[in-house]
């Protein structure tokens, strides 16, 4: 169901393959072509003729990181409102027309962007482009529709965060690991901000960010690029651009000292999550640390016999679950994370110590060549596997583009991942995974007392 928030509310970090497969295209024969319209909108087309299907995605470079205190969550609320009608296309009609064409559609909001997508038979693509262009400029934003939809969003927050111990833990972790950068706010927004949000807030957001010069159209599938560019000029071309507000960097200061946060929520088992400040990929050719950190995440958690699971779950039996994750493709600062669920009879402190010990072991002894080769084999195969999904191929282009990276650099990235040495992996562990850059979040499980309502509006607001 729309709208998912793919990066929200779940600290499980099984994203390695996803992250690594961003490397891409070693075996991709598909052709990518791009044009920029006169109003500044970018149009990127990737042909893939395996099936008579087309994917359309419109990416706006506006996510929760562009929000301010008091109106957190507005990017996502506006995403909901984008289905609530324009002058020519009444509320609900966008979805109805796409569905009538056999299409599937949805949208998602993240910290970095908001994206809208449709998957259709290839000869229905024009409909999607026409409708997307219309709502880029002509959204109604009625107070009546807003008053209902904001309730829906609050239900979504209850489902994903208020009533989810893991969701609350993650929210608490982010609010602590980031102090200056707006990544500290949850994508869905704080409940209090949602309660106090007005249709004017949504309108201001729309007027500020929904302009063709802040958007990228990505089309993938069995399409003729020339035809796609013609449609793009026809439908998006006439839309007027306006200047974007100045984006201040809001750099997160370097962390000097470990932080700790405890989140109490109804649950049975505790969870401990460790997050270190880590580098964002900014120059795919010159950067090297982000690639080494990706390989490190693979060494720790690339498969069931990788270090964390093998050591903490299988051998020491201290934990029932572990994971590690790192995604350097982002507009803002990123974290390298590991987490674990203590096994019965073991404490958070023991498990935290064991996680740190695994890191220390790598810093001291490095990784062996077999481990390294294994992670690289997974990188290579994920390059092939990701081509099975048209949607995912379009998604990669959109994510890279909105992160300010050239999607063509993904070839470089693949080469750079293959070049990572064992010594580089050891060195980045030593450089970044240090206590002074660490935030530790723990879930302190509380019994379910059915007579008492759960704490309200709790949501991890204990930025230490």
């Amino acid at each position: 169901m729309r709208p998912p928030l793919p990066r929200l509310g779940h600290p499980s970090m099984k994203r390695l393959l996803f992250v690594l497969s961003l490397a891409v295209t070693a075996v991709a024969h598909a052709e990518i072509v791009e044009q920029t319209l006169d109003n500044g909108m970018r149009v990127i087309v990737k042909t893939d003729r395996r099936a008579p299907v087309a994917v359309s995605q419109v990416w706006y470079r506006a996510g929760s990181m562009d929000e301010s205190y008091g109106t957190t969550g507005v990017a996502h609320v506006l995403e909901h409102m984008m289905f609530k009608g324009t002058h020519d296309v009444p509320a609900g009609e966008f979805s109805r027309r796409i569905a009538a064409a056999g299409g599937r559609e949805n949208a998602f909001t993240s910290r970095d962007h908001t994206a809208y997508f449709q998957t259709l038979q290839k000869d229905r693509l024009e409909l999607a482009l026409k409708l997307e262009a219309d709502r880029m400029a002509n959204l109604n934003l009625s107070a009546d529709e807003f008053s209902k939809e904001i309730q829906v969003v609050m239900e979504e927050r209850r489902l994903r965060t208020e009533d989810s111990a893991q969701g609350r833990l993650y929210e608490g972790l982010m609010a602590s690991a980031f102090q200056a950068h707006p990544y500290r706010h949850p994508v869905i927004g704080w409940m209090d901000d949602l309660k106090n949000m007005s249709v004017d807030d949504a309108r201001a957001w729309y007027q500020r960010w929904y302009t063709p010069n802040n958007a990228t159209l990505v089309v993938a599938g069995d399409v003729d690029p020339t035809q796609v560019f013609t449609w793009a000029r026809q439908y998006f071309g006439p839309l007027a651009a306006h200047a974007l507000p100045l984006r201040k960097p809001q750099h997160e200061p370097e962390q000097n000292g470990e932080r700790q946060v405890t989140v109490k929520a109804p649950a049975k088992q505790p969870v401990v999550a460790l997050a270190w400040q880590a580098p964002t990929l900014t120059d795919p050719e010159k950067d090297s640390d982000p690639y080494a950190l990706e390989i490190l995440a693979g060494v720790l958690d690339g498969h069931a016999s990788a270090r964390l699971n093998q050591s903490l779950v299988r051998e020491k039996r201290l934990a029932t679950e572990t994971s590690a994750g790192y995604d350097p493709v982002a507009r803002g600062p990123v974290l390298f994370m590991v987490d674990a669920t203590p096994a019965e009879g073991h404490t958070v402190a023991e498990v935290e110590a064991a996680l740190k010990q695994e890191i220390a072991r790598i810093v001291k002894d490095g990784v062996d060549d077999k481990e390294l080769a294994r992670v690289k084999a997974q990188v290579l195969s994920s390059q092939v596997y990701q081509q099975d999904s048209l949607f995912y191929q379009a998604m990669l282009i959109g994510e890279w583009t909105t992160a300010g990276l050239d999607y063509r650099a993904r070839d470089i990235r693949f080469r750079k991942l293959k070049e990572v040495t064992a010594e580089q992996v050891r060195a980045v562990a030593a450089k970044y995974l240090v206590d002074s850059k660490l935030t530790v979040a723990q879930l302190d499980p509380q019994p379910l007392d059915s007579n008492k309502p759960a704490q309200r509006g709790f949501g991890g607001r204990h930025a230490n």
Binding site: K148, Q269, R374
Partner: protein, 440 residues
């Protein structure tokens, strides 16, 4: 057949609504008795394999609930001459991914591998060992039992799990579909190595199995592969079929207290079999009521008009025997009664009127027009091969999908819904429950 050609044919099929050729599914039986379903496609240098056994949780007894799931899970943790650690390492060495699944009907494994001979041979050797020679090492078993129990303990704090479990018990009574797929803390604690060995011997047989193969491999090599996967399996015939579900005349109502800010609703009854004469009327009909996302009446009434839920839906889950029909939503606690009542009103109105002409047209347009997206990747095609194979559906199931959807009439839907979805027979579970004004 190359997939491009295949899709040309499918596109033509959509226009003419004549079911002739579709997905070119090759089908044979291995000497050991396993059924194989194969689509050859060389566009990407990769191969997807799914093996499914009639060894799901419906094969559990109440006393040993969780045995099917634990057996499947521990099979992949040490087999033949492969230590536990070797399996994941050797899969990763060739970039292969091993997955598994279990529901009430099916237990199985999936492997996605590069299709080069070296990668394919190594990943398939591992899979063959997992299927035919699991070690069920006692120490591994004890550890995994503890992990499963920990997972169950955690799950039992969550309203969606608590509700789904109570709903399943309410609608299935004594039928094995009532059993929780992962088992219960107490029953899992008592399972021993002998139980797993016996379960494997009785159910992981070639005659009880369907193999789906999709991708970059020749027919000759696919035959060799299928034989390799089945040659070491325990001998013997397929076990007897699971019993039919007997429908209840009267549903049960249950409210389970929980401190969550939202109430969770589960309402329904045993509804539909995988092979069922009413499959298409119910499937198309449910699109209009609660299956069609933003086209559905439940979403329009409860989400769009009233703002009471983020997610509200209904679905039929077709199974070997009658799988569940369920209506569900989550809403803030003070709105519980309003939301549940709205869902009931929509259902009753639908049972009275059926879909409007416009709704029925919309449902068909979406299902027919969306057909190409059902088979636009190797992964999706593999899923259909697995389903067709496991449930022994006709090989042209996909070819006839579109015309069958087209053929459904308003009266078919009304008749089928009235026959299958009796409000009096529906059970309702609400986790949380109505509060007044405090659940902000």
């Amino acid at each position: 057949m190359r997939i491009e050609r295949l899709f040309c044919i499918l596109a033509a099929l959509l226009l003419t609504a004549q079911a002739q050729a579709g997905l070119d599914i090759q089908n044979w039986t291995t000497p050991q008795g396993a059924r194989v379903y194969f689509v050859e496609n060389h566009e990407l240098p990769m191969l997807d394999i799914s093996v499914d056994f009639d060894a799901g949780s419906a094969r559990d007894s109440r006393e040993k609930s969780g045995l099917a799931s634990l057996t499947r899970h521990v099979m992949a943790l040490g087999a033949g001459h492969y230590e536990e650690r070797d399996i994941a390492e050797k899969m990763a060495d060739v970039g292969a991914n091993l997955g598994g699944r279990l529901d009430a009907d099916r237990a199985g494994f999936q492997v996605r591998t590069l299709s080069g001979k070296a990668e394919r041979d190594q990943s398939m050797d591992l899979l063959a060992a997992i299927l035919s020679a699991p070690r069920f090492d006692a120490s591994v078993l004890e550890r995994e039992k503890a992990r499963v129990i920990a997972g169950l303990q955690e799950a039992e704090t969550r309203p969606e799990y608590i509700g789904a479990k109570a709903f399943q018990a309410a609608i299935y009574g004594d039928h094995p579909y009532a059993l929780n797929e992962g088992g219960e803390q107490e029953t899992v604690a008592k399972l021993g190595r002998d139980d797993l060995v016996a379960f494997h011997r009785d159910y992981y047989r070639a005659h009880n199995m369907a193999i789906a193969v999709m991708g970059d491999i020749s027919r000759a090599d696919a035959e060799i592969l299928a034989e390799k996967l089945t040659s070491g399996l325990p001998p013997g015939a397929a076990p007897a079929a699971i019993p039919p579900v007997t429908a209840k005349r009267q549903g049960m109502q249950q409210v389970i207290p929980h401190p969550a800010t939202q109430s969770h609703l589960f309402m329904g009854l045993p509804g539909l079999k995988r092979e069922d004469p009413d499959y298409f009327p119910l499937y198309v009909g449910n699109y209009v009521l609660g299956g069609g996302g933003f086209d559905s009446r439940l979403t329009k009434a409860i989400r769009d008009k009233k703002g009471l839920a983020y997610s509200v839906y209904s679905y039929f889950m077709p199974m070997r025997e009658l799988g569940p029909y369920q209506i569900g939503l989550q809403t803030r606690r003070e709105a519980t009664n309003d939301a549940v009542e709205s869902a009931r009103v929509e259902l009753e109105r639908y049972l009275k009127e059926g879909p409007s002409d416009a709704e029925l047209t919309q449902a068909k347009n979406n299902l027919v027009g969306g057909f190409p997206m059902r088979i636009d990747s190797n992964k999706k095609i593999l899923e259909y091969l697995s389903m067709i194979g496991f449930y022994r559906l006709p090989l042209d199931w996909l070819d006839t999908y579109t015309p069958q959807v087209e053929a459904v009439s308003h009266d078919d839907i009304l008749r089928a819904f009235r026959a299958r979805v009796s409000p009096a027979a529906m059970s309702t579970v609400i986790v949380g429950g109505q509060t007044d004004g405090q659940g902000k």
